[in-house]
Symmetry: C2
Subunit: 402 residues, 2 copies
């Protein structure tokens, strides 16, 4: 950074402090006392990052998705106000004092829990991402997402607090023939998914808090099923029922939706796990390096539904050579991991891409390699490498690889 | 939990699914599509947790403090909207495009950085608490805080992102005689504190993001000095100037305020480090165990300005015996650590208290032991053990120990 004039403005010294202050600040300290204390704060009116809802002319604004502005993200936590949304029948208005969770079916002891009941159980707090399996769907096409928000914004990460599902199932005493549990949401379409019992006895939770306060309405208030690392729709929101069964229920959302069409015309079903993925968030599509050549930081997010991110590499030459980025510690399993790499830009056009590896040994591959393995009928679970292109004027755009 | 009738409502089985659903839910799933997607979400209108500002008749609502509702907290992150406040001249309205950080004084190369300049530096993301040194001040008196919010709510914890100060000072090239740096804020009173150079070369940061988005106005938008583990006022908000000096500047806020009056009438100055502290947040003062005898979770928060929390113990018999609580992993240094312990309440009145230890080997002591060591003129840095008293009707209140 030593010879970058855009980074430093040299002052002539010698004057007193007051003079220096006066001559160097574009904005004087205010002379009047500022705004007062408040019960529940808001962000600065100068901040405008927002979720990207569907086009303004949507006739069904309650049944779509809105995306997190990952290009404006910092660290690993997604602000709850910017957590992506994917609703199938809008956000129900639920009175938490009236909401209950029913556990029934192949159990010895059917149970009903209120929110207050759940808070008496031993709780767990963990950081996990949630991602829609449709995230990155456009990357399969000839028009991949022009910004990180469009390409990868159906993923967000929160600190969740709630009760392990295995504690609740232990109370209900599952019958030996119970192998699946159908989770049903409290929205108007009663979205339901059949979940294999093994996942529920592993790290599944009924969460009632997100980022330190009650879970947000868009995320399932007053409670949702959290299946760390599994596709978003199976993390049933506004959850009201866990029904233990011997077989999956073949609900609408595991037959008509959320299956993967293979090259032979058959569909893969119950493909819950989300694969290793990464995206450079700065610089990324739609942004511009305004300072000209000089030092910048390349930063982004990586995550895997199968465990911990162990490595993120960055290529600045079209994938010929790769260099390790630094990973922010500590690394949580099935959570956003922030990666960073210092970069000195020479002002020439450059392609920029990241590839992540997780602790199963898997490393991301290119869109073309992904298509070769899965065919081109796939709609969900795109985890191919995302490439950005930086022009010599500093503007960043996407690169079509298909 | 097996014999707790309040925890389970047994259903008569045999009916079909639809019937069961209908007969067990107080609140039916809605028949109409719910609310639509939105650009920036809000919490449920049913949620009312709020910061506690000074009395409503305050004539100076811009120069006081507001407290985080710790009794309503979950996990370790404080929602930015509920982060405690302590302002000395209100919250300035700062245009980030006009804000600059000046580094000058005993440096070879005075520098001015814009927010965009700072974002080009290698960034760091870390979870840290911020605490006002006046937190717990009332615990020294005969009327300790009646709720966790009143007693301990001048502390909050966030994921912060920004630039290590040592990188900025390296660019400015400190002169050998520089031993302190005076940090000045952009509020109307230009709050300033002298910071020993060693801290700035250690883990100090200029942070511009909090919990995944731009730092909130109440916390110093667009940038604040973060001194992990050091008393809140030294983490200068809206920071606009770092002035390298040979000696401390003896500013108003390190002479007239924020010093500790000792028994001999002398004041201790520059007592920056915050001591090990803990508080049980549920059950806590003002709450009530409404379910009668049975299983509950005892949970709370512990933190130390000196390092990592290594242990939290809970006593249910007035401090005679102690039992280890579980600590939520991973434990961050100088950050809130959530502790938890299952508890089966027999319905009798009980005193409940927590004591935390950190990795320096220090363990919290009682208010009386604290007073014996420091005298009773102390106003800041109270880290004595907090005791709650649960009556047989389940109501929780504070216990005066002095």
């Amino acid at each position: 950074m030593k010879n970058d004039p855009s980074r430093r403005k040299i002052l002539s010294m010698g004057a007193g402090l007051a003079t220096l202050t006066a001559c160097t600040s574009k904005q004087e300290a205010p002379s009047q006392v500022g705004a007062a204390l408040s019960p529940y704060g808001n962000r600065s009116p100068h901040e405008t990052a927002k979720r990207l809802p569907p086009p303004a002319d949507s006739k069904t604004p309650a049944t779509g998705g809105s995306r997190t502005p990952l290009q404006d993200s910092y660290g690993t936590i997604t602000p709850s106000s910017l957590h992506f949304e994917r609703h199938h029948a809008g956000i129900p208005d639920i009175d938490p004092a009236r909401h209950e969770l029913l556990i029934h079916g192949l159990v010895e002891q059917p149970l009903v829990y209120s929110l207050e009941d759940l808070k008496r159980f031993p709780a767990t707090t963990r950081v996990h991402f949630v991602e829609c399996s449709g995230n990155g769907g456009a990357e399969y096409t000839a028009a991949p997402g022009a910004t990180a928000q469009v390409s990868h914004g159906l993923a967000s990460c929160s600190e969740w607090t709630g009760v392990p599902v295995k504690l609740l199932l232990a109370e209900a005493k599952l019958k030996p023939e119970a192998k699946w549990v159908v989770a049903e949401g409290g929205d108007a379409c009663k979205l339901a998914r059949s979940i294999p019992l093994a996942k529920l006895m592993d790290d599944a939770m009924i969460v009632y808090a997100q980022n330190g306060e009650a879970i947000r309405p868009e995320q399932g208030y007053p409670m949702r099923l959290l299946l760390p690392g599994w596709e978003g729709n199976s993390n049933v929101k506004w959850v009201r029922r866990l029904h233990a069964t011997a077989e999956p229920a073949q609900t609408t959302h595991e037959t008509a939706y959320y299956t993967d069409l293979m090259p032979d015309g058959k569909s893969r079903q119950f493909s819950f796990e989300l694969e290793t993925k990464s995206v450079i968030t700065r610089p990324s599509g739609g942004q511009k390096l305004t300072g000209g050549q000089g030092d910048y930081e390349i930063t982004g997010l990586a995550w895997s539904g199968r465990g911990k991110i162990t490595r993120v590499e960055i290529s600045l030459d079209g994938g010929k050579t790769w260099k390790d980025a630094e990973l922010t510690q500590p690394i949580h399993a099935k959570a956003f991991t922030r990666f960073r790499m210092p970069w000195s830009w020479d002002g020439a056009a450059v392609t920029m891409q990241s590839r992540a590896s997780d602790d199963t040994g898997y490393t991301q591959v290119s869109q073309d390699e992904l298509a070769a393995a899965r065919g081109r009928n796939y709609r969900y679970h795109n985890n191919g490498i995302k490439v950005w292109y930086i022009q010599s004027d500093g503007s960043v755009s996407h690169v079509a690889q298909v």
